[in-house]
């Protein structure tokens, strides 16, 4: 019991806990759409491509949120637009923007030395050093993302399952696709501090995929994913505290282990029905 409570004598751990739980809830709910629509590469690319936005915000001395939200939203829309216009497949377009912007961010970081930010923290997550302002911004954005997904749930579901049928039925599928990308951008910004750029994808898809193994209906799988996400986030936070690991890898390892357990359990069940 003491092992469980001890970390939370520290205010920084309380802040980290709040952010972890927020990420644990929001990311898998968004992730349910990512795995249904095959947007994993998009999620990964988006999280990398906002690095210039993060660096620019730090340079200007403002909160990273100020730089990342517009960067992520613009990039998300740009990817959708370019893949429709240029005619390369979407993954090629995404790949090019992904590496280009990530490289730009890295170049900006190494040109401007002596910043009050470490590359490692941006890449791997640095949840133990967040302030109350970050907590408020993370929770606020998380709630906004959830509200948008809730408000447009039935339309997003239809457009994800049968985009052609949805369009014929009179739904604005282009708007819905862009809306989903904007929410994805918000969720990535939310998850950034907890797990870092490289591992945002982990919180987006691993708990959602694990939930899909356990539950065979979309909305219930979303909720199970959120529950798993919270477990993963909290367990990762303890690992991070006691083993002195960056929070991103700690949470990711827990997530992947849970996934492996679910796969093994399902194989066992299907072998002995």
């Amino acid at each position: 019991m003491e092992i469980l409570l001890e970390p939370f004598q520290f205010a920084f751990m309380v802040r980290a806990l709040i952010i972890s739980v927020a990420v644990g809830i929001v990311a898998p709910i968004m992730g349910s759409y990512i795995i249904s629509r095959g947007l994993a590469l998009m999620g990964d690319a988006l999280s990398h491509a906002i690095l210039p936005g993060v660096v620019a915000a730090v340079l200007l001395g403002v909160s990273p949120f100020v730089g990342t939200i517009p960067a992520a939203v613009i990039i998300a829309i740009l990817i959708g637009y370019l893949s429709r216009r240029i005619g390369f497949s979407e993954d090629t377009t995404i790949g090019i923007l992904f590496v280009g912007l990530f490289a730009l961010g890295l170049a900006m970081l190494s040109i401007v030395r002596g910043l009050a930010v470490r590359l490692e923290d941006i890449l791997l997550g640095q949840i133990l050093g967040v302030g109350w302002g970050d907590v408020a911004a993370t929770v606020g954005l998380g709630v906004l993302a959830l509200l948008l997904l809730y408000a447009f749930h039935k339309e997003l579901v239809f457009a994800t399952f049968d985009p052609v049928g949805a369009r014929v039925a009179g739904l604005p599928t282009g708007f819905l696709d862009n809306l989903l990308l904007v929410v994805l951008a918000l969720v990535i910004v939310v998850a950034l501090q907890a797990v870092g750029i490289i591992l945002v994808l982990a919180m987006l898809i691993v708990p959602a995929a694990t939930a899909r193994l356990l539950v065979r209906r979309f909305a219930p799988a979303m909720l199970v994913g959120a529950l798993l996400g919270v477990i993963i986030a909290i367990a990762g936070l303890y690992l991070s505290f006691y083993l002195n690991l960056p929070s991103g890898p700690a949470m990711t390892l827990v997530a992947v282990i849970l996934f492996a357990v679910a796969v093994a359990a399902r194989r066992r069940v299907s072998r002995h029905p």
Binding site: I35, S36, K154, F158, T160, D162, R167, V168, R217
Partner: protein, 261 residues
Amino acid sequence: MSPESTSDPPGLLPTLAVEDVAVELGGRVILEDVSFSAGPGVLVGVLGPNGAGKSTLLNAIAGLLPLKRGRILIEGQAIAGARGQVAYVPQQERVNWRFPASAWDVVMMGRARRIGWLRRPGGHDRNMVRRCLEQVGMWDKRTFPVSELSGGQRQRIFVARALAQEANILLLDEAFSGVDVASQEGLVAVLKELRDEGRTILVATHDVGTLSARFDMAVCLNRHVCGWGTPEQVTPRLIEELYSAHTAAHDSTDGNNGNPA
């Protein structure tokens, strides 16, 4: 047989009027001079060789493609003003089967536009979904994931979704491909029941042999309308087109890469 001869009573607007329609895709003419019209309560088979433009025609009626020329009227209205009155049952491969939806969920999707933005389904919508599932004989399958249903059962679920949408015109693209013969007959029985309730139903199909048993009217399509009338009237012309089809260039934009049945 002139394009005007349809089953609708004189003086009433036809449910569906296709007038002198041309469609180009990527600079190639897929449909040209296509005209026909259908009144309420007609079950129409759309037939033709591979690449004849059957899917393109259904997509155009669904409002998914821009017309190069001509117009398509739904109850006398342009398609843009008639959104929601047409329901589309896509080819199976155009549906995202990774999405875990139950049969109930899929039929409820049909209610999305009627329910309206920012609202949740109410008791009326749930009753509607139940009635639609019962009408296609799928009520006892409501909790099943659609991806685990057979081809014929899936088609029934999509037809139920079209009913839940309260659409007057149903478009079914390759409704019988991947569906075993017994299930095809079941699906036809459901479609005939809906026809008897006054709906206009267009089905793109390869199957010439069952044409007269299944459809009231038939369109023989090969870029142009090569025949329009009762199945008996159209069948000879259709067979001619199908046998000469091997000389026509294969057209992948139609989406029918399978073999004709």
